[in-house]
């Protein structure tokens, strides 16, 4: 939490001015009953002669109101400035922090949670800080001020104020303390009711098919009854607050009048001062209730703040290399060595190993078993590699080790002859092109999206990449061509179009290693075939890794990696595997007719 407050220090001036002026406003408010007492004691006592005095005092009241308004506006202005500024700072810091997290933390926290932290939670904190700056000093100040004013009028009677304030605080804060967790419980239960309802709507066919309506009804009724009980419980507690505070304040007034009578009789105070004391007492209650509500908002804001600072404290889990190697330099040297590659034929000397895995195993954080075990693979310069297997067998996991999205649990992954852990992470990812399984595009033009792959790509390079990805036709077909707008998530494009653009985006940077993670599934067979051909004729001869569920996609690869349940079940060419690998045979067989 303390960490978040540092974002307020940039607005130190504002966060001091705001409460200060609030206090000033409150001070002027505290003078009001005193002025009124003067009107009664001096003005009225003088009779007809007192009228001009009363009018000037009335003028003082209006002046006090104007000063109060001015102070208040100044305070609101600076409170808003500080709160919004702090929220902006936190938002920026958290956004940056999220960009430094690795896949492991993103999996664990979940990106949708992070989105909530960035939006709703930060807004709550902003609200809380704003209210805090405006009210947190004002309310206690008025309460304290009222007690002090009472003390100045009459010491003995101010004891009543102290007692009453104590009693009120106990009740107001006691009720809050009791009801806040109860409100949370109500909300949680309400969420359950919502879930239950939504499930029943989305699953209506299944529920009816399985004849479960009765069970669902009683399940719902159970939830709903519990909700009602919890609501009534909170209601019972809250229902006590008003009556009890009313009794305390008014009993205090009874005591003030009684003691005040004695004091007036002996000449310690005047009648007008009795009226002033009664007024102060009423002010205390109003402010304490405000304070209590403020505390509710603050607790919520604090909970949000806690979640935000927890998110800020998540440490990226990939340890950085002590002396990071710049992968781009290695790649440049590698490119120079590419002269001995002739089209379609891969060389297999040890200097030409693009990727190698030695006993590499992967276990995701929180998983009970390894998702990949003992991978031993070698991919050479210019080779085309196919990776195939059932859903959930570890295909995606395997290729995610190469750009070091995850670290291996055991073993080593090497890229261009160096352990991936030795590289500067960003440079490593710059030499590996990845087309993720989910075709994600961003709001902006087609051009904007392609430039993700290479910031300074020329018009020519853009079209070249689109050619490779078999996307030229449909981009040309668009009225605005490369400048056509893509809406959020690429929703105005078909699945196949999205896939082709994501491929173009990865191809454009001409990386020595190019990975396609099942990224042509939405393309028809003919287009896919053309795509495969254009990929194998790329002028810079990348090591191409194709992940797929389709046997036809990987069939012509130089090496096919067959995975089954996280284990390597075979490596080789199509012909070799058809002889030796049972899993591969099954896959091919199952797809034969299509």
């Amino acid at each position: 939490m303390k960490k978040l407050l540092t974002y307020l220090t940039a607005y130190r001036k504002e966060s001091i001015i705001a409460p200060l002026f609030k206090m000033l406003e409150a001070t002027f408010e505290l003078f009001v009953p005193l002025v009124m007492a003067q009107i009664i004691d001096v003005g009225i006592a003088r009779g007809e002669d007192g009228i001009s005095y009363i009018l000037t005092r009335g003028g003082v009241l209006i002046l006090l109101a104007i000063i109060g308004l001015t102070c208040s506006l100044i305070a609101q202005y600076f409170a808003a400035k500080a709160a919004v500024g702090m929220a902006t700072g936190i938002r920026s810091a958290l956004y940056r922090h999220i960009h430094s997290l690795t896949y492991t933390e993103l999996d664990k926290v979940g990106t949708s949670t992070l989105v909530t932290r960035m939006t709703a939670d930060i807004n709550q904190v902003q609200n809380g800080v704003n209210l805090f700056l405006r009210l947190f000093l004002r309310s206690p100040f008025i309460v304290a001020g009222a007690v002090i004013m009472a003390f100045r009028i009459d010491r003995k009677i101010s004891a009543i104020f102290l007692l009453a304030t104590l009693g009120l605080s106990i009740v107001v804060f006691g009720v809050m303390k009791l009801s806040v967790p109860m409100h949370a419980a109500v909300q949680k239960q309400l969420d359950r009711v919502v879930l239950s309802t939504r499930e029943n709507l989305t699953g209506v066919r299944v529920i009816r098919a399985f004849n479960r309506q009765q069970e669902e009804k009683s399940r719902y009724e159970e939830n709903n009854t519990l909700l009602r009980k919890l609501q009534l419980k909170v209601g019972n507690v809250s229902a006590l607050m008003n009556p009890i505070t009313y009794v305390i304040v008014n009993f205090a007034i009874v005591a003030i009048i009684h003691q005040g009578g004695i004091a007036v009789n002996t000449g310690r105070i005047t009648q007008g001062e009795v009226v002033a004391l009664v007024n102060y007492m009423s002010q205390i209650l109003v402010e304490l209730v405000k304070l209590a509500n403020l505390i509710v908002t603050l607790t919520k804001a604090m909970a949000c703040g806690k979640r935000i600072s927890d998110s800020l404290e998540i440490e990226p889990s990939l340890p950085l290399a002590d002396h990071p190697i710049d992968a781009r330099e290695i790649a440049r040297a590698w490119e120079e060595g590419s002269g001995n590659v002739t089209e379609g034929k891969a060389t297999r000397s040890s200097q030409d190993i693009a990727v190698s895995m030695k006993n590499a195993s992967l276990k995701y954080a929180g998983a009970s078993a390894q998702s990949l075990s003992k991978m031993n693979l070698t991919f050479h310069r210019g080779e085309t590699i196919g990776v195939i297997g059932s859903t959930g067998c570890g295909k995606s996991s395997l290729i995610q080790l190469i750009p070091r999205f995850y670290d291996v649990e055991e073993g080593v992954v090497e890229v261009l002859g160096h352990d991936v852990k030795e590289y500067d992470l960003r440079s490593l990812r710059e030499i590996i092109g990845v087309v993720p399984q989910k075709a994600v595009l961003f709001r902006g033009t087609i051009r904007d999206n392609l430039l993700w792959g290479k910031k300074d790509a020329t018009e020519e390079e853009l079209w070249e990449a689109l050619d490779v990805a078999q996307a030229r036709d449909f981009v040309e077909g668009k009225e605005k061509g490369l400048d056509s707008w893509i809406s959020q998530g690429g929703n105005n494009l078909s699945g196949g179009q999205k896939q082709r653009l994501t491929i173009a985006r990865a191809v454009i940077s001409k990386t020595p290693i190019l990975i396609l993670d099942d990224s042509s599934s939405a393309l028809d067979y003919a287009t896919e075939k053309k795509l495969r051909e254009s990929l194998s004729h790329l002028s810079h001869h990348p090591t191409l890794i194709l992940v797929s569920q389709r046997a036809s996609t990987v069939r012509h690869a130089d090496q096919i990696v067959v995975l089954d349940d996280g284990l390597l079940s075979g490596v080789g060419t199509h012909e070799e595997l058809m002889e030796t690998c049972e899993v591969y045979q099954e896959i091919v067989h199952s797809q034969k007719e299509q």
């Binding site: 009225i44 308004l69 929220a87 960009h99 029943n200 699953g203 004849n211 007036v264």
Partner: protein, 582 residues
């Protein structure tokens, strides 16, 4: 227009009153308590004023009088507190009970609604009625009860009290109070535009966050972090600017109304003091007036809010009532709830059906399925393959003709008894929040551990379940949470494997599963279906070829029917379809 709206409102009002009827005693009690609270609250300042009047100056204090008044004041205070508590309790009970009842009722009602209604309305819509509308209604009801009534009574009471004390000063209060509304509404208008601006920028920022944080993995894979942050900072700075202005302007409301209140207070003070000098009222009455002046404006500010809230509550209530008015489906009166031992014969004769009566779909369909036969339904996407399944399961009822299961016309038995015969796996997977075990045992609550595991093994789900952190006890979040689509489908299949129904319906049940696993599951299905009747919507040619009856659908109607050889010999649409897929 206005007339209709009025009658709808009256109707809603009547129904709300009907809902409240069982609680009429509490309602009456609440109203009585509220009136008493207002009366005693207004009476207290008068008593205080009277007491102050007896405390004039040194030696001029009527102690007997003061103490007598204070005794009365204590009683009034205690009575106020008691009535207030009693009123709160009544309101809580009425509101929460009524709302809870409506919720249960709507939920039960949904269970009985025909699928034609649920298919035509989005989940979000219906959910809104059951949750948000009911909630708003409850808030409105509670607020309406506790604030509107007491607010109005307070204003009236205060006016009467003030008028009896001094009409002239009352006039001062009545004239000045509306100024605070004028100020408040002026501020509200200016703020509105700023808030709209703010929400626009905020929307833009949220979209950016959604995209970049939601797809953070892609952002990182392309080293796009720098650009993403740069873009974000721009919008973030704009939001800071707009947000600051919007929040500042909106926060003017309170100080402004407070300022007006202070003016009222000063005016009452001056005018009151003048009146005291002229002997028109006493100092105590002035003190009572001062406390009224601040009390009087409060309910005004509240009431405008409460009225909007109440209008909203009414609108929500009428939405809920409209949902409750939707007709439920009922079984025939003498429908049998039990079917005798079933063999799985299905006979469809002269069946006609369409969703939209202006567009005919199935017309005069006749199908005869013997026990243990497999029926495949094929056709291009969107040709209405699921329609037949909707009719078999009686999610929809036929327009004409009949469907007989085991020789019984399906409308002569209850839907419950009919659906007991069927097991269904749909393309769209649905799982409940709960453990994997509960989900598999969904159709058979008393299944043993062995049966559950056996079903999971048959569905080829066992191996992935085993690898989950808590195995079969892994709790799934709503609709399967982070399981893959394929895994979810495997669980749905396990669920039906456990139920072992006489007739099986598979609607693209293996569409998200890789081909190799699909073939294995198909084998399991084949064993399971041995001797059972099945209806299969499929695209896999081998499945179709081996079926006993193939129904070829196009544009919502069945255009060809027969087994593979017959249809190939016919040389029609099926042959075309088959040849193009080969």
């Amino acid at each position: 227009m206005g007339e209709i709206k009025k009658s709808v409102n009256q109707d809603t009002m009547k129904r709300i009153i009907k809902l409240l009827k069982p609680y009429w005693l509490l309602v009456v009690l609440s109203i009585v308590c509220a009136s008493l609270v207002v009366a005693t609250t207004l009476y207290a300042p008068i008593l205080i004023g009277n007491a102050v009047d007896l405390i004039v100056a040194v030696g001029d204090v009527d102690f007997f009088g003061v103490v007598a008044i204070l005794y009365r004041l204590v009683l009034v205070i205690l009575a106020t507190a008691l009535f207030q508590w009693c009123m709160n309790q009544c309101n809580n009970h009425i509101t929460y009970r009524v709302v809870s009842e409506i919720r249960t009722k709507t939920f039960a009602h949904i269970q009985g609604l025909p699928l034609s209604y649920l298919d035509a309305h989005s989940t979000g819509d219906v959910l809104n009625h059951v949750i948000t509308d009911v909630d708003q209604f409850s808030d409105g009801l509670l607020l309406g009860f506790s604030q509107l009534f007491t607010g109005v009574v307070t204003i009236l009471g205060t006016l009467i009290f003030m008028l009896t004390v001094n009409p002239w000063i009352t006039l001062v209060v009545v004239i000045l109070t509306p100024v605070s509304f004028v100020v408040a509404s002026f501020v509200a208008k200016t703020t509105y535009q700023l808030f709209q601006q703010q929400s626009k920028v905020r929307g833009e920022l949220t979209a950016q966050i959604d995209e970049m944080v939601g797809n953070q993995k892609v952002v990182q894979a392309f080293n796009h972090e720098g650009a993403s942050i740069e873009e974000f900072e721009k919008v973030n700075a704009t939001l800071q600017d707009v947000g600051h202005r919007a929040i500042f302007f909106s926060s003017i409301t309170n100080p402004a109304t407070r300022f007006v209140n202070s003016l009222v207070y000063a005016a009452v003070g001056v005018a009151g003091a003048y009146a005291v000098i002229r002997g028109m009222m006493s100092v105590g009455q002035l003190s009572a007036f001062l406390s009224y002046a601040s009390q009087y404006t409060k309910p005004f500010n509240e009431i405008s809010g409460v009225i909007t809230e109440l209008q909203n509550a009414f609108a929500c209530a009428s939405e809920v009532f409209r949902l409750l008015d939707e007709a439920e489906v009922y079984d025939r009166e003498n429908a049998k709830d039990k079917l005798d031992e079933s063999d799985g014969t299905v006979e469809i004769s002269h069946l006609s059906f369409s969703y939209d009566k202006s567009r005919t779909l199935l017309t005069d369909v006749n199908i005869s399925v013997k026990p243990g036969q497999r029926v495949a339904i094929v056709g291009p996407t969107g040709c209405g393959k699921s329609t037949l399944i909707n009719l078999l399961m009686r999610f929809y009822d036929v327009d004409e003709g009949e469907i007989l299961v085991d020789g019984v016309e399906t409308r002569d038995i209850t839907r419950h008894a009919l659906r007991e015969r069927f097991g269904m796996v749909l393309q769209e997977t649905w799982l409940q929040a709960g453990t994997i075990r509960e989900n598999i045992a969904y159709g058979k609550a008393d299944a043993t551990e062995e049966e559950i595991i056996e079903a999971a093994k048959l569905a080829h789900a066992h191996s992935f379940i085993r690898r989950l952190p808590q195995g079969y006890d892994t709790v799934l979040s709503e609709n399967g949470g982070n399981l893959s689509q394929g895994q979810k489908q495997l669980l749905c299949i396990a669920r039906v494997m456990l139920k072992l129904p006489p007739v099986l319906i598979l609607d693209e049940a293996t569409s998200s599963i890789d081909t190799r696993t699909e073939i294995r599951i198909q084998k399991a299905f084949n064993e399971l279906m041995h001797g059972r009747t099945s209806f299969v919507v499929a695209h896999r040619l081998s499945t179709i070829r081996e079926s006993d009856i193939i129904l070829v659908m196009k544009d919502g109607n069945i255009i060809e029917q027969g087994n593979h050889e017959e249809l190939m010999a016919q040389g029609g649409f099926y042959k075309n379809l088959y040849m193009s897929a080969m």
